[in-house]
């Protein structure tokens, strides 16, 4: 007969905990499981939400602000201001064709008037592909401006959702005309609401975007405030930024190694930092949860130690009748594991129900929750928790079982 048969027969016929004790032990494990799962679910929700919010600015982007030189270069003194012009965008595109997109941005603050409402508005002049790169997605019924608008220098305007609300209230702005510097502009689209993590100058919801050709004509500008580049692959960003300076340096007369000439915000790099912080938070939450669960495990071990003490005679009898060490140990480990796994399954059910019930909360329009996100359980979280539960269950059973197996049968069998 195999060990397995013997062990399963012994396990099936061994005494069970008193009900109250079993319930308490299982409840302790369930509590620990709920704690670890909820902590990890909050962490996961936060991570996903932050990731979403981070991406809402755009992905694989870098923003470059022309500044002043801090080094002399080919006879030129330090302290020269660098001016990148609208025409340079195509010039860069030609020299760096591997970039997915190059955009220029011009900015101005002007009062915008609709009916009796006036709002001081940040207006951006840029290229049509900016809408896609910078995730200016239109609400249904609207659009971002296109190449035709740019070529024709049309006075069309795309509004951030906050701007639209401030100027138009509950009216649909699309097709309406507003006045900027006494020129009429046709509203062609309103941006979909987004929670934005990374921003420069202000949130996208608070500005309005027009074609660069229109901007140049209207406000007589040539100099770009910012350049925005988009790479194909985030891994290329560092090299592409270096290459950009090597391309622009000789043209504008600055040392490509001069980091004051072009101030750069590398979003790929900063998103990596965010990711690392989030991993740290997840790890921290996991450890806190695991510690809570370990307390439950200590409870199981404690109960099992008490059980070993109570069943000392029973164990001694089994040994006298010829039970080998493993036939004593394994059923004990199984018993500890059973309490742990039953508690774990209960905790997982409770946590899943809790998380599911939170999916009904509206987080998009809540200022705090739109950053915190919604608690989310994932397969990895489930696996991680199961592994910890299994480990705790085995350990909580093993050490008491080892004590059981070290019982000296001769000492336990005689007299009451």
């Amino acid at each position: 007969m195999s060990d397995l048969t013997i062990i399963s027969t012994l396990f099936a016929s061994s005494a069970r905990l008193q009900k109250k004790r079993a319930y308490l032990t299982i409840a302790a494990i369930a509590w620990g499981t709920v704690a670890i799962l909820m902590l990890l679910a909050f962490g996961e929700g936060l991570k996903r939400q932050l990731d979403r919010n981070r991406r809402s600015t755009g992905e694989n982007l870098a923003v470059i602000w022309p500044g002043e030189t801090s080094k002399t270069y080919k006879g030129l003194p330090a302290g020269r201001a660098i001016h990148v012009r609208a025409g340079d965008i195509d010039w860069i595109r030609e020299r760096m064709p591997e970039l997915r997109a190059v955009h220029g941005e011009m900015q101005t603050w002007r009062p915008a008037t609709y009916g009796r409402t006036v709002k001081n508005l940040r207006i951006i002049g840029t290229n049509p592909s900016y809408g896609e790169s910078r995730k200016h997605y239109p609400v249904a019924g609207g659009r971002f401006f296109n190449d035709e608008d740019e070529a024709q220098r049309r006075r069309v305007i795309f509004l951030g959702d906050e701007v639209a609300k401030d100027l138009f209230g509950h009216e649909d702005p699309v097709g309406k005309t507003l006045l900027i510097a006494n020129s009429p502009y046709l509203v062609i689209g309103v941006m979909q609401h987004k929670t934005q993590m990374g921003m420069y100058g202000g949130p996208d919801s608070n500005h309005a975007v027009i074609p660069m050709s229109t901007f140049r004509a209207q406000f007589s500008r040539e100099v770009l405030q910012e350049l925005v580049i988009e790479v194909q692959d985030p891994a290329q960003m560092k090299a592409e930024l270096r290459k950009l300076n090597e391309v622009l340096g000789p043209k504008y007369g600055y040392d490509p190694g001069d980091d004051h000439a072009m101030h750069t915000w590398d979003m790929v790099k900063s998103s990596q930092v965010t990711k690392n912080i989030l991993t740290g938070i997840q790890l921290f939450l996991g450890i806190v949860g695991a510690l809570t669960l370990i307390i439950g495990g200590v409870g199981v071990a404690n109960i099992m130690y008490a059980v070993v003490k109570e069943r000392t005679r029973e164990i001694g009898v089994k040994m006298a009748l010829g039970a080998k060490r493993r036939w004593i140990i394994v059923p004990f480990v199984l018993e500890g594991l059973t309490y742990t796994l039953v508690g774990g399954a209960l905790g997982m059910t409770i946590a899943t129900l809790l998380v599911a019930s939170m999916s009904f909360i509206d987080i998009e329009h809540n200022k705090v929750l739109s950053f915190l996100g919604r608690p989310t359980l994932s397969l990895q979280i489930g696996m991680f928790t199961s592994c910890i539960l299994g480990l705790i269950g085995v350990l909580a059973g093993y050490f008491p079982a080892r004590r059981a197996a070290s019982i000296d049968p001769a000492a336990t069998l005689r007299y009451e």
């Binding site: 007969m1 013997i6 027969t9 012994l10 016929s13 005494a15 005679r313 029973e314 001694g316 009898v317 089994k318 040994m319 006298a320 009748l321 010829g322 039970a323 080998k324 060490r325 036939w327 000296d408 049968p409 001769a410 069998l413 005689r414 007299y415 009451e416």
Partner: protein, 230 residues
């Protein structure tokens, strides 16, 4: 089994309990030979080393020095698991306090040694039922020990001791917790077993019980003081 038919062969057995600070020599050189078919009573006052001898005879413990052969197996230097196997196959225990597992039935109690001995489940069940019937408990197979009287419990214990058909039955004060009438029932069963040719070793301090044995071995201060046939 040895050539001369002895089942138990002890020579120069010493047992020292070392508690760290104090060393207690419980057995100081015991020589004991028990042949097949004998019914031996081991008597002696408390503290004489009876219990130690019982533990060694039952392979619950190993001697500090000396050699012990049980049914031809040398017990010296075996592992705990091997010792467990020897107990399982060679020794049937009957204890003063019965030592039945309280939460399982008489039937399952009797099956327990056979489970450890690897007897298939059907055979186990049949044999346990037979043995219980033989000790007069055919109608109590599904009762738990707590539902039985002391005498009945001891009879279950005897059935359990016989389960693996061991070389010796080792009984430690088997009537110590029983009233006179149940005690004499148990002794009758032992006599019956003896007549069937089984080897019994009974540890007792009851002279009446010792009288019914074929041989009495008296232990005192860790040595055999007296060894005579009845």
């Amino acid at each position: 089994m040895n050539r001369n038919g002895s089942i138990i062969h002890m020579s120069g057995i010493r047992k020292v309990y070392d508690t760290g600070k104090v060393k207690v020599e419980a057995l100081k050189g015991v020589d004991l030979e028990i042949r097949k078919g004998e019914m031996v009573a081991i008597v002696g006052p408390s503290g004489s080393g009876k219990s130690t001898l019982m533990n060694l005879l039952g392979c619950l413990d190993t001697p500090t020095a000396g050699s012990y052969e049980l049914g031809g197996d040398d017990v010296a230097g075996v592992t705990r698991d091997e010792l467990a196997e020897i107990r399982n196959r060679r020794v049937g225990f009957v204890f003063q306090n019965f030592n039945l597992l309280p939460h399982i039935s008489s039937q399952e109690n009797v099956e327990m040694p056979m489970l450890f001995g690897g007897v298939p489940v059907r055979e186990r069940r049949e044999r346990a039922r037979d043995l219980l019937t033989k000790v007069g408990l055919g109608d109590r197979v599904d009762h738990k020990p707590t539902e039985l009287s002391g005498g009945q419990m001891q009879r279950v214990a005897i059935a359990r001791a016989l389960a693996m058909d061991p070389a010796i039955i080792l009984a430690d004060e088997p009537t110590g917790n029983l009233d006179t009438s149940s005690g004499s029932d148990i002794m009758s069963i032992f006599n019956e077993l003896w007549k069937q040719g089984r080897t019994l070793v009974i540890i007792t301090h009851d002279p009446a019980l010792a009288k019914r044995a074929s041989r009495v071995v008296e232990i005192r201060d860790g040595v055999v003081m007296n060894d005579h046939m009845n």
